[in-house]
């Protein structure tokens, strides 16, 4: 159980790092079911901002068999064209356990 939680935390941290480093391959490694449209939006999002810093706090992890619902609070700070903008939100990520470990299958609002 603890290994799963640790693995889920690592997935969330990788997701955070992928955004901050604008690394689509790293993003895809934790969310392999990205559609081509989603990949396009991610790339556009990376290009649209100079930088994006993400601070994520995992609020709860709820296991349901091979899936887990992760409630988290995030604070995103972007810098674009010399302007800094911050937003706070709560999200629920749905993760699934695969042969290769935990991956994100859906990021909800």
């Amino acid at each position: 159980m603890e290994d799963d939680e640790a693995a889920i935390h690592r997935v969330v941290a990788t997701y955070q790092r992928a955004i901050e480093n604008k690394d689509l391959a790293l993003f895809r490694s934790v969310k392999p079911n990205l559609s081509r449209e989603e990949e396009r939006r991610i790339e556009e999002g990376f290009r649209a901002v100079t930088s994006q810093q993400v601070s994520i706090t995992v609020l709860s992890i709820e296991r349901r068999g091979q899936e887990a619902a992760v409630r988290l609070r995030r604070r995103d700070t972007i810098e674009a064209r010399g302007q800094r903008h911050a937003t706070e939100s709560q999200q629920t990520m749905t993760l699934a356990r695969t042969n290769g470990g935990w991956v994100i299958v859906e990021i909800g609002r």
């Binding site: 901002v49 972007i78 674009a80 064209r81 010399g82 302007q83 939100s89 990021i107 609002r109």
Partner: protein, 441 residues
């Protein structure tokens, strides 16, 4: 502070040569202000010809001639300021706003386009953000109701012409009107919340108005030239005179405050409502403002389809009373015509630095005074002259607009636009250029 060029009643001095003695007297009349320039064109008593004829009982003959031109052409002023107050606030530069995409956790530019130039879109600029801009427009009016402003005919008839005799004489005039307006508008938009903006537009205008009226006596009822004549510059009797009035003014125009809120703002489409409140801060007597408060609620729909962002605007403007719609010379006010305004168009993102915008912009002016061209059939039964008259009617006015918004540096946008008349209704400038700058903080 308005400044005014006044040509005081300067009469051209008679020249010595015989050739010059045949020139019509060119009378430059005093201009008190631009709104009364037409009514004062022929002097304080209107168009009164010289006459050495006497009536029975040795009464002097008052050769007073009338036409709608002098009495009603002051409505030109209403039409002119009506053009200026419909100038929309350029849509603020919200092309640099960013929307959080919660399904991926990244940010997107809320629209790829920098937005329309002379229309509005549903988007607001976001809480705490400020957009600041400046726009310059130059109007050089060309036509009124399709009639070339450099050739406006008007026939003046004698008082009590129906009594015939010498009263059948008419005075035909060919009038040339040059009306130019330079409008410098500063505007600022503040995002109060993510869905509510307040904007302020501060126009400063520089107007010039020149009217040259070439008047000729048509002797249809008299044979003795001393009955009706214009005194020439050398004192001789003639049948032609040129009246000139030139005025200019500059100063603050009517301020407009805009409140706008989005009702619905989905990922690809949005609806906003708002209201423009126009404050009569411009001096209407110098055609710098309407002289009337105005309120215009409006609704905006816009959408974003990849690089193309269509938009539709509709509004209705209620106006108060103004001397410009009444009798500016007498200071009598009347209701400034209300109008429905509408726009439909799209802005297209060519690339991340360039947006092309095009629009159809219209207004339906309700029950306004309109000029009508007609033929004047003289009482002699044979003579016909081109003439104008005035009537009250509603009309639709349609313009097209094509422009560019380009990101020249950082968050600075350069706007360039051409507004062009599609029909001939009302007072029109065939092509009105605009150049502006916008900056979003």
């Amino acid at each position: 502070m308005a400044t005014r060029l006044v040509l005081a009643g300067v009469c051209l001095l008679a020249m010595g040569s015989a050739a010059r003695a045949q020139e019509p007297y060119n009378l430059a009349v005093p201009v008190k202000n631009l709104a009364t320039l037409f009514t004062g064109l022929y002097g304080p008593n209107g168009l009164v010809l010289d006459s050495l004829a006497t009536l029975p009982g040795e009464q002097p003959h008052s050769a007073h001639f009338n036409n709608d031109f002098q009495a009603n052409f002051s409505q030109f002023s209403t039409a002119l300021v009506g053009q200026l107050v419909t100038l929309p606030l350029p849509s603020p530069a919200s092309g640099f706003t960013y929307r959080f995409d919660p399904t991926l956790g990244v940010f997107q530019r809320s629209t790829q386009s920098f937005g329309p130039i002379l229309a509005e879109r549903a988007e607001t600029i976001g809480a705490g953000r400020v957009s600041f801009g400046f726009a310059f427009q130059r109007f050089t009016f060309d036509t009124i109701e399709g009639l070339d402003l450099s050739k406006v005919p008007a026939v003046f008839t004698h008082d009590n012409a129906q009594l015939l005799g010498g009263r059948q004489d008419v005075v035909t005039t060919l009038n040339s009107i040059a009306a130019n307006v330079s409008q410098f508008t500063t505007f600022v938009t503040l995002g109060v919340t993510d869905r509510f903006d307040i904007s302020l537009a501060v126009p400063v205008l520089s107007n010039s108005l020149t009217v040259v009226s070439d008047a000729t006596i048509q002797r249809l009822g008299t044979t003795n030239p001393l009955t009706h004549f214009f005194r020439l510059s050398n004192g001789d009797v003639g049948d032609r005179r040129i009246f000139t009035a030139i005025g200019s003014a500059s100063g603050l125009g009517d301020l407009t405050v805009r409140l706008k809120t989005t009702l619905r703002n989905a990922a690809w489409t949005g609806v906003a409502i708002g209201v423009d409140v126009r404050l009569p801060t411009g001096d209407e007597m110098d055609l710098l403002g309407t002289g009337a408060a105005g309120v215009q609620p409006f609704v905006v729909w816009s959408a974003n389809f990849a690089k193309v962002s269509p938009h539709v605007n509709a509004g209705y403007q209620w106006n108060g009373s103004s001397a410009l719609a009444g009798n500016p010379a007498a200071g009598e006010s009347a209701s400034l015509p209300n109008q429905a305004t509408y726009a439909a168009g799209a802005d297209v993102s060519v690339n991340s630095r360039l947006t092309v915008a095009f629009d159809l912009l219209g207004r339906y002016v309700v029950n306004a005074k309109r000029l009508v061209s007609q033929e004047f059939h003289a009482l002699d039964g044979t003579s016909v002259f081109p003439n104008i008259t005035f009537t009250n009617a509603s009309f639709n006015e349609l313009n097209g607009a094509f422009g560019l918004k380009t990101n020249v540096l950082g968050r600075l946008l350069l706007d360039v636009n051409l507004l062009f008349a599609i029909d001939e209704h009302g007072l029109r400038d065939k092509v009105t250029p605009l150049i502006g700058l916008e900056y979003a903080f």
